[in-house]
């Protein structure tokens, strides 16, 4: 698909023989962004938001860059091709900014406490960036400890469940029973069992990420082609070798599905986990600001969380592509 778009875009570029061929999509994107900037600056906000000037300047600058790009993009090599690939998205983004601006700040269809124009979010970042950075650090610490320990324990349990009949006999029904229970339902018990609220929060995150990893790993190990074990046994492999060098790598594609699910679940419970008496953290920030109806701050924090999650997903994809390069037609 993406290749096709690239070829079409490239074809468009080559149609013109001029030394500065126009990248039409980029030009349209520049227009859309420019429109957003003009709308922002030319009409008054119905209520003051702050940072209106700054936002107009930023997307105005974006429009200028796009305008330049629409003439030089094909000289930029691989980076240029990436930009060309996202050309239609750049147009959509410009139009979205314009529509967002009009419907919130300029006309007030979507009114103040509940909705925020882009400059509203921008203002939050400008004013509150120090506290937000601190919150990001706290959240990442909680997430890293919770997710890290959760997937390690979940993985070990999953391998044991998939490998051993005895473990599977006792463990699988229990796992199936507690699997569908939302991790947050354990909050009352965790308060009793864990010395600090931070440990309790970590446990909730660990549980949310560990359970899908355990279930998928178990099914992956259980589904390994028996012939691989036959080959291993013929070649004199011990049970331990069979687990380490056959069951584990053969189940890896399943394990990654579990990891992706665990990643999403862990982000979903972060907000709740930070309810447990945390002093900082994006989840805490969201709740705190919700209580004061400061929804612009809530949206700003949500946006950061979405970006964090997307970046970690991206990272996990890179790890997977490295480890699963052996799969047929995978990359």
């Amino acid at each position: 698909m993406s290749d096709l778009t690239q070829i079409i875009e490239a074809g468009k570029l080559q149609d013109r023989a001029s030394p500065w061929p126009l990248w039409t999509t980029g030009f349209l994107a520049a227009c859309a962004w420019g429109l957003g900037a003009i709308v922002t600056i030319a009409f008054p906000d119905v209520v003051p938001w702050g940072a209106t000037q700054l936002f107009a300047t930023l997307i105005g600058a974006g429009a200028a860059i796009l305008l330049v790009l629409s003439f030089v993009v094909q000289r930029l090599g691989a980076g240029g091709r990436l930009i060309v690939h996202y050309g239609p998205w750049l147009i959509a983004l410009g139009l979205w900014f314009t529509f967002w601006e009009i419907s919130t700040a300029k006309l007030g269809w979507l009114p103040k406490p509940f909705f925020s124009p882009p400059q509203g979010l921008l203002n939050v970042y400008v004013v509150d960036w120090q506290r937000l950075l601190l919150c990001i650090a706290y959240t990442l610490r909680l997430w890293a400890i919770g997710f890290g320990s959760g997937i390690v324990v979940g993985y070990v349990i999953g391998v044991a469940l998939g490998w051993s009949r005895g473990v599977s006999y006792w463990g699988m029904p229990v796992l199936k029973l507690i699997g569908p229970v939302p991790a947050t339902a354990w909050i009352p018990c965790t308060f009793f069992f864990f010395p600090t609220t931070f440990a309790a929060s970590c446990f909730i995150v660990a549980l949310a990420s560990g359970i899908p990893v355990a279930i998928l790993t178990a099914s992956g190990v259980g589904a390994v082609n028996r012939s691989y074990y036959d080959v291993g046994r013929i070649l004199g492999a011990s049970n331990w070798y069979l687990i380490r060098n056959i069951a584990v790598p053969a189940a890896l594609p399943h394990v990654f599905v579990g990891l992706f699910m665990g990643l999403y679940y862990s982000f979903a419970v972060l907000v709740v986990a930070e309810m447990l008496g945390a002093k900082y953290g994006l989840g805490w920030y969201i709740q705190f600001q919700t209580a004061y109806s400061a929804y612009a701050n809530v949206y700003a924090a949500l946006l950061i969380m979405a970006f964090l999650c997307a970046s970690i997903v991206r990272l996990l994809f890179a790890v997977r592509d490295r480890l699963l390069g052996w799969q047929k037609g995978f990359i």
């Binding site: 082609n225 080959v231 291993g232 046994r233 013929i234 070649l235 004199g236 790598p249 799969q327």
Partner: protein, 274 residues
């Protein structure tokens, strides 16, 4: 691999005698019992090369799995050097009909698996290289199985078996997917190796000519459940020639045994492979 063999350890190695005593076997299929092997009695002397010929689905692969110790026979018993076979052992190596390469390991590591599992890889890295050279796949050492052709995968599987220096080598149609040129080459490599190391070999094949060129004894099996129909000792010197009149006569005899007119001989393979 060949370099690891000196005359001394050829003398030292004790190759395995196999005793198959009244072995019958059946599978549970569709709720009924499917008889597969019917009182097989076969003694293989140390260093002998036995070929098993028989129609498709008669139970040849099953018999090899029993000898390797992957499954236990329903009745009767199998002894390797007078010890009852109850589990696989690294002195008895089976090369499966399906290559079953590990898709997550490169060709080199697939071949190295046996040595690694036994903890002797560090000392014998060269043997892996030699085994790959023997099957002419040295340049594919770092390829993954999905990058190989069917015949190449089969050769890797053969190397993975040979690298372990087995005393009993069980081969399940190891050349089935090879073109006739490569097949001839591989046949003579295997023969050279066997002549040099004198391991005991049991080869399952659909190819009468292959059996006659390689084996010191050919066993013809019946349709399922497999019984031994016929045994032929091939008392000809190696290397044998395809156009040797003795070979041609034997081929006609076996084709007759399998219920085929000599003129139909090529059809055996077509029917059997299906």
């Amino acid at each position: 691999m060949t370099s690891a063999i000196t005359p001394l350890n050829v003398l030292e190695r004790r190759n395995i005698a196999v005793d198959i005593h009244k072995v019958s076997h059946h599978f549970d299929l569709f709720g009924t019992s499917l008889p597969v092997l019917d009182t097989i009695d076969l003694a293989v002397a140390p260093g002998e090369f036995v070929a098993l010929l028989g129609p498709s689905g008669c139970g040849k692969s099953t018999l090899l799995r029993l000898i390797a110790g992957l499954d236990r026979p329903a009745t009767g018993d199998i002894r390797a050097d007078n010890r009852l076979v109850t589990a696989p052992d690294r002195s008895r190596i089976l090369a499966f009909q399906d290559p079953t390469l590990f898709p997550w390991r490169t060709v080199w590591w697939n071949v190295a698996t046996g040595l690694e599992a036994q903890g002797t890889l560090e000392r014998h890295r060269k043997r892996v290289d030699d085994a790959l050279a023997l099957v002419r796949l040295s340049e594919f050492a770092t390829a993954y199985p999905h990058q190989l052709s069917g015949g190449m995968a089969q050769r890797v599987a053969l190397a993975r078996a040979l690298v372990n220096d087995p005393k009993l080598l069980l081969l399940d149609e190891p050349f089935g997917k090879l073109d006739s040129f490569t097949r001839m080459g591989m046949q003579s490599e295997l023969l050279a190796l066997w002549l040099q190391q004198a391991f005991t070999a049991i080869l399952v094949t659909h190819d009468i000519e292959e059996a006659l060129l390689l084996a010191s004894r050919v066993i013809v099996l019946s349709d399922r459940p497999a019984r031994i129909l016929h045994e032929l000792t091939i008392d000809l010197d190696y290397p044998r020639r395809r156009d040797d009149p003795a070979i041609i006569n034997l081929r006609r005899e076996i084709a007759g045994e399998l219920g085929l007119e000599p003129a139909d001989a090529p059809n055996i393979q077509k029917r059997a492979v299906s």
